[in-house]
Symmetry: C2
Subunit: 409 residues, 2 copies
């Protein structure tokens, strides 16, 4: 087992669970004698490059702070969208990063992030294999998009799914109050993978009927004529509809719906996201009162309504990253497999980063119904366990209490 | 004390607390021997007109259902935007309503709603005074807009304010992660009264600094040049800004900002709400990465994150409506006064509906700072008590459990 210091950094879009993972990595590292100082890199890999390193021990030896971190949404250490370039420019960057590793005696590097971050881990691992070095590079997954391969579901997805499902339930209740035909189109995140839109299917009424009447994912081509047919079909038995669309829905020609130019009756082009375009199309073609709601960044940082399973798993995955590193692993990401479909249980392991970086897991066909406008039973069975349980939040003046890096640097 | 039946109806936009008030009216009526049957009118006054009356005793004699009602958002009985017309058309409507009252032996009418609903109470009271009758007409306040007069704050406002403040806290955390200049413009509801936008000031960091850096209300004219000045001033010490605007902000000429036609650099007109217009203006004039978030209907029905004080007060105000009716009052709305600014306490009373109907309470000048771009200490002291406390929600499959009228009719 190597003796040395470690650095943890966070990258990509923030989530409500990424700090729970940071807390997991920190606490496993802190209780291990092989690891000395635990540094946090500010703003992802940029923090290593610019030597913006924070001594996390000074913050999190206080149990109270570590507890706060677990339920603070967004990235405590800040984030970046930095991609290491190839060629000479990239070479200089790698050299600088490894110089910093040497200078600070870093033997373990934990990178909490999504697809792009796993590419960084892959590149660092490849560079080291070619040029020598003894740093363990461990990818620690996070993304609300749930689009990483080799993992049952990604940390952060469960809390986002829970927030979305609760919001859809509330939007459905809100739109049902007037005795008139009406439609709400809700846009959720997901450019290529429709996991978040699919999670809207978890919003059900007392009889188990899905409150998102129609759900459209980017995995299937979006057909405006089919939409009208679907709406008419639902409206045979129901006057107020909720339609959920992924931001990335595309028509058969591969064109993003969000970029479509639907003209209203005055000839004005409608700008905005997919929901705005769908809203305008429905108004124009069916004349039904329609409004659109974009869940926007709220869905990725809703720390006030967390899935306990997601937060606890995210923490455990952080701990497992440290165990893997101390076990001599490098160039891997922590991954999970579901033990059985009937009785939920999660097996944690690691997988070669080559199988993960730059790959994307979309929603399988059998997770959707045959009409491709909602979840199948199979899809629902997959989703349901992920939103279970509530976390008792530390509160202050009626609001969830957060912890801020700026208070310590 | 009159012996007879009562009818309760809900009107106007839904809120997260309007059903808590319904639960309060129901339970006070149910334990009182003077009141026989307790009817619910479906879709507000329209339910009376169309004799769509539900026997609420059959639903809520089950304690479990009444408990669910208290935390179910939106209007359990449905709503309407119906206004009784004047002249002959109105006369026929009044006659029909009073016929229904006679037919069902209604002696007490409780109308839970906002401004328009109080106008209905006023008109019914006036009609009865002129034409005879012995029905007690009691207005029971609700509105997230907090714009009713003669009341310290309206039921529903506290929960909406709590949701908005928590969301602003999360949006601020979300936007702070990248090491670059950026602005988020958040639009909240409020056409003429800026109470909801003001409540964004409750989102504070660990040092008590407001996380909504700039807040603009419809009470003050919105000046685009002043906005630029304000942004530059905040950006002297901070790189990521959160700006909150009421949907109803207007320029000095009285024109809604939402209706402004700001053209982007391609000459395209930007459509959408106030936040979209402000977003486009900032991008065009400062070239800073800007996005807008519209909280939309989410803010009025966020039953997953309630203010315990709001829900409990809403329930008590419902109970007080029954007490007032049995005390012989009619043509009144239940109102409240804050006992003292330092130690929060609420005195409940009733006020003549003439003083309330068709009036609007906007944010007083001294609730805002001198720059008119944030709350004053006085404003914060007013807001803080209203978002205190959490409610333990009945959960089902990881989501808040709701009760639906359609399951009983």
């Amino acid at each position: 087992m190597k003796i040395g210091n470690c650095v943890i950094a966070q990258s990509g879009g923030p989530t409500a669970a990424i700090n729970a993972t940071l807390a997991g990595v920190y606490s496993a590292a802190a209780r291990n004698f092989a690891i000395g100082k635990i540094y946090g890199g500010q703003n992802g890999i940029e923090g290593i490059l610019n030597e913006k390193l924070v001594n996390l021990g000074e913050i999190f030896d206080k149990k109270e702070n570590l507890k706060l971190l677990k339920t603070t949404p967004s990235s405590f250490l800040g984030s970046c969208r930095y991609k290491i370039k190839s060629g000479d420019e990239g070479k200089a960057v790698f050299e600088k990063i490894f110089d910093v590793f040497t200078k600070y005696n870093i033997k373990y590097f934990f990178y909490i992030g999504g697809n792009d971050s796993m590419d960084t881990i892959l590149q660092l691992e490849q560079y080291q294999r070619k040029n020598g070095g003894d740093v363990s590079f461990i990818g620690v997954p996070k993304t609300i998009d749930n689009d990483l391969t080799c993992i049952d579901h990604t940390p952060g997805f469960g809390s986002a799914a829970k927030y979305i499902a609760a919001s859809i339930k509330e939007i459905a209740a809100d739109t049902a109050v007037y005795d008139m035909d009406s439609i709400v189109v809700v846009e959720v995140m997901g450019r290529n993978a429709g996991w978040l839109a699919l999670s809207a299917s978890l919003a059900q009424d007392s009889k188990g009927k899905c409150l998102a009447d129609l759900i459209y994912l980017p995995e299937n081509s979006f057909d405006f004529e089919k939409l009208i047919k679907d709406i008419k079909s639902v409206m045979e038995t129901k006057r107020q509809l909720v339609i959920v669309v992924s931001e990335g829905i595309k028509t058969a020609d591969g064109k993003m719906v969000a970029e479509s130019s639907v003209k209203d009756s005055f000839g004005h082009g409608q700008l905005g996201g997919a929901a705005k375009v769908v809203e305008a199309f429905i108004k124009e073609n069916l004349g039904i009162k329609t409004r659109s709601v974009e869940l926007n960044v709220l869905q990725r940082c809703a720390g006030h309504f967390l899935s306990a399973r997601d937060i606890n798993e995210s923490y455990m995955i952080g701990e497992s990253a440290v165990a893997a590193a101390l076990d001599g692993k490098t160039g891997v990401m922590v991954t999970t497999k579901r033990a059985a479909e009937e009785f939920y249980g999660l097996n944690i392991d690691v997988t070669d980063i080559n199988l993960i970086a730059n790959k994307e897991k979309t929603v399988p066909e059998n997770f959707m119904n045959s009409e491709k406008n909602g979840a199948s039973e199979h899809g629902l069975r997959y989703l349901k366990p992920l939103i279970q349980g509530e976390i008792e939040l530390p509160m202050e003046s009626g609001l969830p209490k957060h912890i801020y890096l700026k208070d310590f640097i």
